[in-house]
């Protein structure tokens, strides 16, 4: 029995070997079956005979080769590929919430022996979390933006502990690889579907045959993931409790996740195995017994919560009562616009001519001859040594483009032409004009602003929001009739191109200016607050909450 996480590391290789064997077996059986069918139906219509030894060996060889090819293509850039297909992005290191998440991940990684784990986030309101790991030992723990705004620190730590349990427990790598293997056919399938629609009959037969083959392989590879045991979730729960000594918070977190939208229908839902709770509602998951043991990826959620509450010596009712009373506390001091934290002058030590020199400030560094992006530097106060190109502040040293950007003027307000000030709003760094109080936010930050709920609304915003919804039809009509000159009015502060005046979406008819090139959005005074108010109270305005 393995005693520590280090012993578990050594067991991983065996598990992967087994997985590779399964892939070979899978291709061999498929090819063998095809061979038997083809021979029987075309060449040996009378009487049945098994293929000869040579044929079998040839099939085995081909199967091995194909398996190797499949393995190699799927497992290169594992993390990049899978995080792309579930829509996870890297953390914004200036964002208050994201910084908190990375802190929690770092804390938990200390508890499993101090291995570096990268944080990621899925910009979605849903509640879920996942872990990925690749062959190089790079590990990722990601959560959805919704989870960050609904769970408190202790609960978040328990969830991260669960994911760290997958990574430390050794099942994360095999899960990631299995998902990547199945993902190949999923991707081929969706591409072929588009190809089919485009070809419109030209070369139709060939595409159809290909389509059928891929469809078949996709079906079979879906079976591959049942290779993953659902028991691993119980184990990861146990590891989380062992690390954080806090079963109650994990139970609360699981309960919150399971009673909210977990992200079914969003991108990457088929990679269910990597998530803490199955994004798709699956009736099978909630059952015990051999059949569901084999064909489900997650254990019954009620069971998991029951075990955890028993550990905390509580019953289910107390847990539910606690959750009803639960009020989420924001990690942001104030939702209002806050001045960005001023960073003191930073300095770096540089490894030059076989020795550490410095520390130097940015000014001094720019004067040193022979500074190169791949040189090793150590930011003052940090433990880790990094390449110079990894530090964004150092980029102006090497690229004239970045230099212009850094030394050039700040971005300007499209109305007043005064420079925009960087301020924190709900923990997100955004740009605000101090004169006209307009706000500019790059596209990916807007989703964060909508999901987060630190802001409380004043009466005027509420009145404007209700009016906006009441006059929706009139507004839509008005926007259709506006002159083209008015529609393309402002210049984008970021890329300088014209912005389009339009509704955020038709369900939330708040007029904003959107840059069609960089997806940045300019909110005039109060537009952002009104949009937030409508979004956060959408149940009140729309009977159908699917908006």
């Amino acid at each position: 029995m393995p005693f520590s996480f280090i012993d578990i590391e050594e067991k991983k290789t065996r598990l992967l070997g087994l997985l590779f064997f399964f892939v070979i077996l899978f291709y061999f059986l498929t090819a063998y079956l095809l061979l038997v069918i083809v021979r029987h139906s075309f060449f040996q219509r009378d009487g049945f005979a098994w293929p000869s030894g040579t044929a079998t060996a040839a099939v085995l060889g081909v199967a091995f080769f194909v398996a190797l090819l499949h393995w190699a293509t799927s497992t290169s850039h594992l993390i990049e590929k899978l995080s792309l297909s579930i829509g996870a992005i890297e953390l914004d290191e200036r964002d208050v919430y994201h910084k908190g998440l990375q802190n929690i991940i770092d804390e938990v990684s200390v508890a499993i022996g101090g291995r570096r784990i990268q944080g990621m986030v899925i910009p979605s309101v849903s509640l879920n979390a996942f872990a990925l790991e690749d062959f190089q030992g790079q590990a990722v723990i990601g959560v959805t933006e919704g989870l960050l705004t609904r769970l408190n620190r202790a609960q978040l730590e328990a969830v991260v502990g669960h994911e760290a349990g997958h990574i430390a427990g050794g099942d994360c790598l095999s899960t990631t690889v299995t998902c990547a293997l199945a993902e190949l056919y999923d991707e081929m399938f969706s591409r072929l579907k588009i190809g089919m629609q485009r070809s419109r009959g030209r070369g139709g037969v060939l595409v159809l045959v290909l389509f059928l083959i891929v469809f078949f392989m996709r079906f079979l590879s879906m079976l591959l993931r049942y290779f993953i045991s659902r028991q691993k979730e119980y184990r990861a729960d146990a590891v989380s409790v062992r690390l954080t000594r806090n079963p109650l918070s994990l139970a609360e977190a699981l309960s919150l996740i399971s009673t909210n939208w977990r992200g079914s229908g969003a991108a990457g839902e088929r990679l269910e195995s990597i998530f803490i709770i199955n994004p798709n509602l699956s009736r099978l998951d909630e059952h015990q017994g051999l059949f569901s043991d084999v064909f489900s990826t997650h254990p019954p959620i009620g069971d998991r919560i029951r075990i955890l509450t028993e550990m905390a010596h509580l019953d289910k009712k107390t847990l539910e009562d606690n959750l009803k009373k639960f009020r989420w506390v924001s990690p942001v001091a104030q939702a209002e616009f806050k001045e960005a934290q001023k960073e003191g002058p930073r300095s770096w030590s540089v490894f030059m001519d076989q020795e550490w020199r410095g520390p130097f400030g940015l000014e001094e560094l720019s004067k040193i001859a022979g500074m190169a992006p791949e040189m090793w530097v150590r930011p003052e106060g940090a433990e880790k040594v990094i390449h110079a190109y990894e530090d964004k502040v150092l980029m102006p040293l090497f690229s004239p483009e970045a230099k212009n950007k850094a030394s050039g003027k700040d971005l300007a307000c499209p109305h007043c032409r005064t420079s925009l000030e960087e301020l924190f709003y709900e923990g997100v760094p955004v740009l605000k004009c101090s004169h006209c109080e307009g706000v500019f936010a790059p596209g990916r930050k807007v989703s964060r602003l909508l999901i987060r709920r630190d802001k409380t609304f004043d009466e005027e915003t509420i009145r404007l929001g209700q009016m906006t919804i009441r006059e929706r039809d009139k507004r839509i009509d008005g926007l259709y009739r506006q002159k083209a000159a008015n529609a393309w009015f402002l210049d984008c502060p970021q890329c300088g191109r014209k912005m389009r005046r339009q509704f955020f979406v038709y369900s939330y008819p708040v007029e904003i200016d959107r840059c069609v090139f960089c997806e940045g959005i300019w909110f005039d005074r109060q537009e952002l607050e009104v949009l937030q108010y409508i979004y956060e109270n959408k149940e009140q305005f729309f009977d159908d909450s699917s908006f």
Binding site: K99, A111, Q155, A333, E339, Q341, G381, E383
Partner: protein
């Protein structure tokens, strides 16, 4: 016959020797792990020592009347840096944790400070570092416990005694309440 016994004895001696090597190696491996775990704690402790001057600097202006609390924190920090043995260190660090806690309790009373993003992020950093310290301690104590057990159980204790492996101190926790599950505030 005699040759047979001789060979058997020789084989036994060889087996014993191999076992000795094996036990010795696993002891060394455990010891390295414990050392590594200790260095993890050290890194985090140092990080905390580095953060404290910043915190004191940024709250000083607001808290003219709380000089005592600030001085206690600074004193505790110096003591913690000077401590050398594991026992002294754990005592000094526990004291530092206590003084920091009283400082944060005071911060709660100043609305200006609570709304200061700089103080808030320093507080988050310190909380995070403190959690890391307790996690690192947990990891260190787990590894030390395993190592100490291995040294004391028969038959490895003979190898340990012969090769001079000695028991390690645990990183003790000040008050018992501190390690109980953090209570969630509703």
């Amino acid at each position: 016959m005699l040759a047979g016994i001789l060979i058997a004895l020789l084989a036994l001696a060889l087996l014993l020797l191999f076992w000795f090597f094996f036990a010795y190696n696993s002891l060394v491996r455990m010891k390295v792990r414990v050392d590594n775990a200790w260095s993890q704690i050290d890194v985090q402790l140092k990080r905390r020592h580095d953060l404290i001057p910043n915190l004191v600097e940024s709250v000083k202006g607001y808290m003219a009347h709380e000089k005592d609390t600030l001085e206690r924190v600074i004193k505790a920090r110096t003591q913690a840096i000077d401590a050398s043995s594991i026992k002294d260190k754990s005592q000094a660090e526990n004291f530092l944790t206590e003084t920091l806690r009283s400082l944060f309790a005071v911060v709660e009373r100043y609305p200006d400070l609570k709304a200061n993003q700089n103080v808030l992020s320093l507080q988050e950093e310190l909380t995070s570092t403190e959690n890391k310290i307790s996690f690192a301690r947990q990891y260190y104590n787990d590894e030390t416990g395993r190592y100490n057990t291995l040294i004391q159980v028969v038959p490895t204790n003979m190898v340990a005694a012969a090769a001079g492996f000695t028991k390690r101190d645990f990183f003790e926790i000040g008050d018992q309440a501190q390690r109980e599950a953090p209570q969630v505030k509703f």
